[in-house]
Amino acid sequence: MKAAVKRRSGSRWAGWLFVLPAAAFYVVFVIQPLAMTVQYSLYSWDGIGVATWNGVQNYLRVFTDPDLFAAILNAIKLIVFFSAVPVVLGLAIAATIRRIAASRLALVARTVIFLPQVIPLVAAGITWSWLLSSTGLVNQLLTYIGLEKITRAWLGEFSTALPAVGVIGAWVLLGLCTLLLLAGMSKIDPALYEAARLDGAGPLREFVSITLPSLRQEIGVCVTVTVVAALASFDIVYISTQGGPGNASMVPGLEIYYLAFSERQVGVASALAVVLTVLVIACALPIQWLTRDRSS
């Protein structure tokens, strides 16, 4: 009896021992920076000298400074481009590719659509800023089809800069969504489709009644990943517009970077980072809850 108890407690400790390396990394590289960010957000600090206690002043500024609040609103607007467009378009493309799954065209289409995921975001940003420049390919095509009137420097005008950044994001994320959804579709039992067809269902009916409900979890993953990408966007905006013109495409990620490293207001930057983290969690959790598999 005694020996058995001893062995049990020993194995409990052994379990912890196995977790220790991973836990140590997690604490040092995730928990500690997070805790330090929260701590910094309560101080006024230039990053070098000794900081002074600032209480919740930095948080008040995040919500009252119109520039900072506008950045948060821009991130929310970007969700339309980063999330809604890739998921909806991705569904349509995946359904189309699945129908021609056996042909060589499907392989080519899959590769082409996934390519943006492989290209570094910085390269994508640079390429798109050429495409969207006043003499770029987009304007050349518009001129060619007689729409010369609407040509403009898409990334340089107040009304079009944010949507133009959104288009770049949609292009990048479309491949990821399509591939995820396609993988989900291949798991669906073909017998379901066969049965539906015997019952006289058309392609649309099949899609709405079989494909969509079966993809619940995959759609959940797509929406979560893309919403987080929209809220935490940085690279694409930094490369293509740097937040301009006149803050029209400023997003929180870029604002945090400017605040911390060019304005040296580490406190306000940290406060904005904490607010952004909370916002991301607040958006991601309900999506997870809504799309989780109830059957299991």
Binding site: S133, G246, S262
Partner: protein
């Protein structure tokens, strides 16, 4: 795990920054010197942190090693934006002997730069024209710039004004540079009528290049001294003055008349240069760091003039700034670094490099020898412009240098809004002044 957690919790309890070794003002000043220091005869390796894309610093250090074989340089290079962000950390953790500096106020406030007063005394820098060193002087504590102790040194000093394409100028019958602002306006109007782009300028991303014509217009409408006071953070200084409002309204007139490219808000500096060199744009507001480049790319086709005054015969002013280098407060070879900086300004070969590689006027005494320059080049006219500015006491620092963040976070978005019709001249100056006040106060 407990230890790690405990450690991070302990760190979390103290105020951020209190664990760093805080350099004090006393440590950053050099001890009194009886005679000019040298680099000695023992092998010395100088640690340098320079700006990418500006070959002058490397050319000078190579020549210095040639003349002083015991001194070698270990150089790290970065883009200016990266240097700006890294400067405090690098100077605090791993102080270079020689470093290209961004705006110095915040660095001096944190006691990160060596006070160069003693060197200035023994080398006789304090006998040079005072305007050369003014921008690198800081009052105690780094509160006000433009006076007090010397914290940096220039490799040369730049001059700004208006470049023009001589071929396009001939097309519209402009044979001499405009003498007044009205002449300049008339030339722009003619160019527009002739279907040419009157102004080549950049205003995209985080770099609002319309700050160049704006500050030139400010100096055209009003005196230069109050603008410098504002840049140097003199208490009570404001950018929101009646003459600056006239200048901003004038800039808006140019925007509304379509004198800038339609996509100016999406044009960066490199795009502006390549378009101007391709012949797109009559005038370009820029500085003499491009003189050598333009002489090479468009030989004989480019002219330069200082921004004309609003009234004929009025005083002229220009943005003119030293290419600032400093010495870390805890640098190992400060004496040798100071020796190098003195050599740059006084050695004949070094001064030649300053002009030929750097394109700008060397630092140093007013009567120091100048290298020969080919007649009719842009370099010749930008150097001559320097003499006129000295005579009119019209040297200004850049309005973009008033604080570390005023350019990216205030001038640029406001100027982009002015182009887009989303900001008024009055609103622009009020908004910049409000940002300035909050940034000077710190946060």
């Amino acid at each position: 795990m407990v230890v790690i957690l405990g450690g991070s919790l302990a760190a979390a309890c103290a105020a951020p920054g209190s664990g760093n070794a805080q350099p004090t003002a006393a440590a950053s000043s050099a001890p009194a010197l009886a005679s000019a220091p040298t680099c000695g005869t023992e092998p010395v390796t100088m640690k340098g942190y320079f700006e990418t894309g500006f070959p002058i610093a490397k050319a000078l250090t190579d020549e210095f090693t040639k003349q002083h074989p015991n001194v070698t340089f270990d150089i790290r290079e970065d883009q200016f934006a990266v240097i700006t962000q890294n400067a405090p950390r690098v100077l605090a953790d791993d102080p270079p002997d020689l470093m290209r500096l961004p705006q110095v106020s915040e660095l001096v406030k944190n006691n990160l730069l060596k006070n160069l007063d003693e060197y200035a005394k023994v080398f006789g820098w304090d006998k040079w024209p005072p305007s050369q060193l003014q921008q690198m002087r800081m009052a105690p504590g780094g509160a006000v710039r433009g006076e007090g102790s010397l914290y940096a040194m220039g490799l040369n000093f730049s001059m700004t004004g208006v470049f023009y394409n001589k071929k396009l100028a001939a097309q519209i019958g402009m044979t001499t540079p405009p003498a007044t602002l009205a002449d300049l306006d008339a030339a722009m109007a003619k160019a527009k009528e002739a279907g040419l782009a009157p102004i080549a300028q950049f205003n995209g991303g985080a770099t609002g290049g319309l700050a160049f014509p704006l500050q030139d217009l400010m100096a055209s409408y009003g005196p230069a001294a109050p603008i410098n006071d504002w840049i140097f953070q003199k208490p009570g200084a404001t950018i929101d003055t009646p003459s600056n409002l006239q200048a901003t309204q004038h800039l808006e007139k140019w925007i509304k008349a379509g004198y800038f490219w339609k996509d100016v808000n999406a044009v960066d500096y490199a795009t502006m240069m390549s378009r101007f060199m391709k012949g797109d744009g009559l005038f370009m507001f820029n500085g003499d760091w491009e003189s050598g480049n333009l002489d090479k790319q468009m030989p004989g086709d480019v002219g330069f003039f200082l921004m004309p005054p609003a009234q004929a015969g009025g005083k002229q002013a220009a943005m003119s700034a030293p290419l600032t280098f400093g010495v870390g407060a805890n640098a190992k070879n400060a004496d040798c670094a100071a020796t190098f900086l003195d050599w740059v300004a006084t050695d004949t070969q070094a001064r030649t490099i300053g002009v030929q590689v750097g394109g700008s006027h060397p630092m140093g005494p007013a009567d120091a020898p100048m290298p020969p320059i080919a007649a009719g080049t842009v370099t010749e006219s930008t150097l001559a412009a320097g003499a006129k500015i000295a005579e009119d006491n019209g040297s200004m620092d850049f309005i973009a240098n008033a604080t570390g963040a005023i350019y990216a976070k205030s001038w640029t978005p406001n100027l982009q809004k002015l182009v887009g019709g989303e900001q008024t001249p009055e609103g622009l100056l009020k908004s910049v002044q409000a940002d300035y006040v909050s940034q000077v106060k710190g946060g």
